[in-house]
């Protein structure tokens, strides 16, 4: 009898199978219930709009018709976007805007973080001042900069004239060549404190013993930065640059308020252009197609962001 029981126990152990997915879901049904409200909200405010935008991007929406009378045009919206001159102009603007703003803001932020990392009198005050551009209202800041750039009464132009650098007030934002760089300056001013805060946090995690070891090993301040600090900051730098890039790709307030994309599309970037197409000219279908393209680009940036994050985690676990 005992042998039989022993046998049965053994064979049962051999035939243990993983419970099926449905069984597993049923066992943890309470967990699903807990996340259900969040999932419902996300479906309503994220998934449905995405679906609706994709759907809309295959229709023409003449301003004279109601939205429900939209006309199916297949991929016409996409082909007309890709073949239009404005699209390439705006895309080039967006690339210049994103790359220049991201890189310069990052370098400036990293530099300020390094400067503020050392202890000196007035550091806390200086840090607080440097964070101001990031915390004040972007709308208010845009209006102030717009006035500072004004071609007749602008402060910046006046100072340049007073200093004798130029003879007459330069035209910063009513000029198709200088408008984009002028806006990029404002954008960098606004977001470099974010990079600074991220990099300051990163600098605090550089192990003091490594820096000491390098000092004993004979490394100069620059060599310590190059061999110890910089490699240690690789992870936080990647994340900061990606976050800045996504934010810049999605910028709206500064270009919209300061120029509205003008003159002659010289400062239009994707988001302002989509907004104008949709809400200025009621070209919902084309705007939706633009949004779908933007969505694809941002999702790929997001993919790299998540990958960079998990690579960091792996590195930390390994160390």
């Amino acid at each position: 009898m005992t042998t039989v029981a022993g046998h049965a126990g053994l064979s049962r152990k051999h035939f243990v199978v993983q419970p099926s997915l449905l069984q597993q879901m049923w066992t943890s049904r309470a967990d699903y219930l807990y996340v259900l409200p969040a999932i419902v909200v996300m479906l309503v405010v994220i998934a449905y709009p995405i679906y609706y935008t994709i759907d809309l991007s295959f229709f023409k929406t003449p301003p004279g018709l109601q939205l429900r009378d939209k006309i199916f045009v297949g991929v016409d919206n996409y082909t007309s976007i890709l073949s239009s001159e404005v699209f390439w102009r705006v895309t080039l603007n967006t690339v210049i805007w994103t790359v220049a703003s991201t890189l310069i803001a990052f370098v400036l932020g990293f530099g300020s973080a390094l400067a503020l990392h050392r202890d000196f009198a007035g550091r806390a005050v200086l840090r607080a001042i440097l964070i101001i551009p990031w915390v004040i209202s972007a709308v208010a800041a845009s209006y102030i900069w717009k006035w500072m750039y004004h071609s007749d009464f602008g402060l910046i132009g006046a100072v340049l004239v007073q200093l004798g650098i130029v003879d007459t007030q330069p035209n910063f934002i009513d000029n198709i060549y200088s408008v984009l760089p002028s806006l990029i300056v404002v954008n960098i001013w606004r977001e470099f404190p974010f990079a600074m805060i991220m990099m300051m946090a990163g600098l605090q995690t550089v192990p003091e013993q490594l820096l000491r070891a390098a000092r004993v090993d004979g490394a100069s301040a620059w060599q310590r930065f190059w061999h110890i600090t910089l490699p240690h900051m690789a992870g936080v730098s990647t994340v900061t640059i990606l976050l800045l890039a996504v934010a810049n790709f999605n910028s709206f307030i500064i270009p919209w308020i300061m120029t509205g994309g003008g003159p002659s599309n010289a400062s239009h970037i994707w988001i302002t252009h989509i907004y104008e197409l949709a809400f200025g000219r009621q070209r919902w279908g084309v705007a939706a197609a633009y949004s779908v393209l933007l969505f694809i680009i941002l999702m790929s940036l997001g993919y790299f962001y998540v990958r960079a994050l998990s690579a960091n985690e792996k590195k930390e676990q390994g160390a």
Binding site: P207, L210, R212, A214, R215, V216, A319
Partner: protein, 365 residues
């Protein structure tokens, strides 16, 4: 290799003297352990020797140079840190090569030195790996290697074993000792573990509260602790210290307890007590010099067993004697129970007497 001399070395943090007038000389080829509890100033002292902290006063010389104002890189020292401080993004080879590259040595010489150091420490097979792919013991060897390639005048080691598990620590302890013997290196070694200091060092500098308490060979520090702090810090279990009163009972100098008993002293010990500033005398005895008896006899003192800790070949007993805890070691064949009354016999040749006021050891002079 060279000697290291510290003269009146001071380090203040605000008003706090973290290192207070420390003097000692590390002879060429000597292994000196700086030992003491947390915050005693031992690591600060090491960092002052390294030049990683500015001194508040005094002189440090390495070899025949005063190095007070020299950068760490110009002091001809190498340092091994508590968590090894290996450069995480560099391979083992590049870690070893780094101090040589910083000194702009030609590449073939760097390669020759790195290979030689790797061979000495038996880490040649690890050269291509990154530090995170190494075990604690391997990282430790690489850290030693990075110090070794430089062929420095002095090796400074800051608790290099404290991140290792107990078993590996014992193994690496003998490896570092071997490293010292083979290279005849001058080593200053910081540790909070008195056992490490006693087992490895030629001399130990016992520090407390920024002050150097005693500087001597481990054997002499163990046998003749200069004060109650050193007596209690060196040795495990710690030396038992029992505060008593010196008195004369029946014409003999004795130590009396508030519990009513008194312990007559030998002539030699009586002479030591005579030099005390007051009648307050502290009796010190190591666990192995106290004998435990179940019956009373002349010269025995009564104690009450507090805990019994069998460890296999030795049983440690803690007992209350005149309000103090006394450690006694027994063969495992003797059985005692908590709260049992026992009688202790002190070996008059091997007890230590301290002045209860100054906490200094009493000497017969």
């Amino acid at each position: 290799m060279a000697e290291v001399v510290l003269q009146h070395v001071m380090k203040y943090y605000g008003n706090l003297a973290a290192v207070n007038d420390v003097n000692f000389t590390v002879n060429d080829g000597e292994f000196v352990a700086l030992v003491g509890p947390s915050g005693c100033g031992k690591t600060t002292t090491l960092n002052l020797i390294a030049g990683l902290l500015p001194m508040s006063g005094g002189d440090i010389s390495i070899g025949d140079r005063i190095v007070n104002d020299l950068d760490p890189k110009d002091r001809d020292i190498a340092m091994v840190f508590q968590n090894y401080a290996l450069y995480p993004n560099k391979s083992v080879y590049k870690n070893l090569a780094f101090p040589l590259q910083m000194r702009k040595l030609p590449n073939d010489e760097i390669d020759r030195k790195v290979q030689a150091a790797a061979k000495v420490l038996d880490i040649t097979y690890l050269l291509e790996r990154k530090p995170r792919e190494l075990s604690g013991g391997q990282q430790q060897r690489v850290a030693l290697g990075r110090a070794l390639v430089r062929d420095p005048a002095v090796f400074l080691m800051d608790e290099p074993l404290s991140n290792l598990d107990a078993k590996l620590r014992v193994q690496m302890r003998s490896e570092i000792k071997r490293f010292h013997q083979d290279l005849n290196a001058t080593i200053v070694y910081v540790t909070h573990d008195q056992l490490e200091a006693v087992t490895m060092a030629d001399k130990m500098a016992v520090m407390n509260g920024g002050l150097l308490q005693q500087y001597d060979t481990p054997a002499r520090v163990f046998a003749n602790p200069i004060n109650m702090f050193v007596a209690g810090f060196i040795g495990s279990p710690a030396m038992s210290l029992v505060p008593l009163q010196a008195s004369t009972v029946d014409g003999r100098v004795s130590l009396s307890s508030v519990e009513g008993w008194s312990l007559p002293l030998s002539d030699a010990n009586a002479r030591k007590v005579a030099s005390a500033k007051s009648a307050k005398v502290v009796l010190g005895a190591r666990h192995s010099t106290i004998r435990l008896h179940k019956e009373a006899a002349t010269g025995f003192v009564p104690a009450k067993v507090y805990t019994v800790e069998p460890t296999g070949d030795i049983t440690f007993v803690q007992a209350f004697l005149s309000g103090a805890i006394v450690n006694i070691s027994l063969p495992p064949t003797v059985s005692v129970a908590p709260d049992e009354m026992v009688w202790l016999e002190f070996d008059q040749e091997r007890i230590h007497l301290f002045d209860g006021e100054t906490e200094m050891a009493l000497r017969a002079d």
